[in-house]
Amino acid sequence: MAANKSVIAPLTVTNMTVAYQKKPVVRNVSFEVTEGELIGIIGPNGAGKSTLIKAILGLQPSLSGETLVYGKPYKTQRKLVGYVPQRESVDWDFPTNALDVVMMGRYGQLGLFRRPGAKEKAIGMECLAKVGMADFAGRQISQLSGGQQQRVFLARALAQDATLYFMDEPFAGVDAATEKAIIQLLNELKRQGKTVLVVHHDLATVEQYFDSVMLLNGELVAYGPTASTFTEEMLQKAYGGRLTFLKSHASAEDEPVLIAGRG
């Protein structure tokens, strides 16, 4: 569907530059996102994908850059934004269970002082169910497997009921069943009109999962609908020739099949 210019974009980033010790990792990245899409952010290792997201969310200081969420500065719109980071670095021995963690997603809505009650618990259970973890509600987080922990944090982000989501490699290190569950979840979010940006590493599934893609390698290589942007030419540009394509002559399609690459 064509982007209606009178609708305010859920996310507009202008001139984002981030540096680690004077070396710029993300250089002058600007883009605008269309509502209700699943957007994949892809690029080689060290391309600055996670850094970009962290900078957008203010978790990483930036040299320059402005982030607007639905036209307003990000800081004033936090309630609308949800974030699922890469493998969480939390204390897994913390005395809390899966449901408890998911309910933390509601803390933003509750504000200062108010205690979570039955309503929050219900939302929490609902979100756990959506990620298939309803049976684990009372389980101590230290007793969950890696994939289960990831799902709990996904559920937490869902509980926030945000309209714009950032997810950093949600499919990393999860089994096929979990991956299927996650993509189903993302599609449901899309159906609800929400927007999700996903840092993704598996080039083979990009066309299947995402409406738009952002190719990043320090600088913005390309941003646009998957069909027109996720092309061999663009990919080679982003990955600097580290990809191998299999050209299938016998096939009627023009599209080469990507069989190997270091993403």
């Binding site: 962290k54 978790l59 990483q60 200081p61």
Partner: protein, 316 residues
């Protein structure tokens, strides 16, 4: 997540640190003067507690310059010599100290100094039979509260001065005789005054077991809250036991000293009040140190008098 401080501010702070710290060190280091005594032909004497320096001043007169290390309110049991103190000890010809482990943390220094000069414990001539022992077998060092014993210390100080400055022997002897006479009178005064307290109430309770000799010499019972040195710990049983004793015997006053916190006594008093017996703080006593210099209580005689008057005033 790390917030990065602007590097200009970082640099400013680092510079500040590298400049300020060394300067501060140098300034404080230079603070103490070198050469503790005025070089003017007098005999240089460094003493520890005020009771000793006061006596030394009295019998030395113009012939000596006396520096005392421990001022009013200082606890000799816990006192640690500073760099400045070492200088004062080095520059003296004579060092006078209490001995009997009163200056518990300075033993090594005295040993070191004794190789080069006269280092004399003023209690050395007191016969062992006159000394009290504490619970753990050591001697109680608070001898100055028995004026007769302190008279012996006075004589020891005199002899030390004569040894180091024989030229003025006659003067020292004359001044000592005059001073001893005053001490005799003080001793009599104390005995008479204490005797005016009715026998049943003749008990003094203090936060510190420093008055053993006083009690012995002047016939008054002494009960303490803590052990002999101020480092001893006490527990709730000690507090309740003491309070019960006060209530039982109807003792009207307890005493605090200049070098020990009031808190321990206050708890006992408040507890007694709750049990219906009024005990008040009888006044502040001097134990390990004297009063402010320049005042009456800043001299040995004045201090003992103050203690006696305070005790008598509260218990009579």
């Amino acid at each position: 997540m790390k917030r990065r401080m602007p590097s200009s501010i970082k640099r400013f702070i680092m510079t500040l640190l590298f400049l300020v710290v060394p300067v501060a060190l140098v300034v404080t280091g230079c603070g103490q003067g070198s050469g503790a005594f005025k070089d003017d032909g007098k005999l240089h004497v460094t003493a520890t507690i005020g009771m000793i320096s006061d006596v030394a001043k009295e019998i030395g007169g113009d012939r000596v310059e006396v520096i005392g290390l421990m001022g009013p309110g200082v606890d000799p049991h816990l006192y640690k010599a500073s760099q400045g103190d070492i200088a004062k000890l080095e520059d003296a010809k004579v060092i006078l100290y209490g001995g009997l482990h009163l200056e518990g943390k300075m033993t090594e220094i005295f040993e070191k100094m004794s190789k080069k000069k006269s280092v004399v414990p003023v209690t050395k001539n007191i016969p062992e039979s006159s000394l009290l022992t504490t619970g753990d077998g050591t001697f109680d060092p608070h001898v100055w509260f028995d004026v007769k014993l302190w008279m012996s210390a006075t004589e020891t100080i005199r002899d030390t001065l004569i040894e180091n400055d024989p030229a003025h022997e006659a003067e020292y002897r004359e001044r000592t005789d005059a001073y001893l006479a005053k001490l005799e009178e003080l001793d009599r005064y104390a005995r008479e005054q204490i005797a005016t307290i009715p026998e049943q109430g003749r008990v003094m309770v203090t936060a510190h077991d420093a008055f053993g000799y006083f009690g012995n010499a002047y016939a008054i019972e002494v009960v303490g809250l803590q052990g002999i040195s101020t480092a001893a710990e006490y527990g709730s049983k000690d507090v309740t036991a003491l309070r019960d004793m006060l209530v039982e015997r109807g003792i009207k006053a307890v005493f605090v000293e200049s070098s020990v916190p009031k808190k321990s006594i206050e708890a006992v008093i408040e507890g007694a009040k709750k049990l219906g017996h009024e005990v008040k703080i009888g006044g502040e006593l001097f134990s390990d140190a004297m009063g402010e210099s320049g005042t009456e209580e800043g001299t040995y005689i004045g201090m003992v008098r103050h203690n006696v008057d305070t005790i008598v005033g509260a218990l009579k």
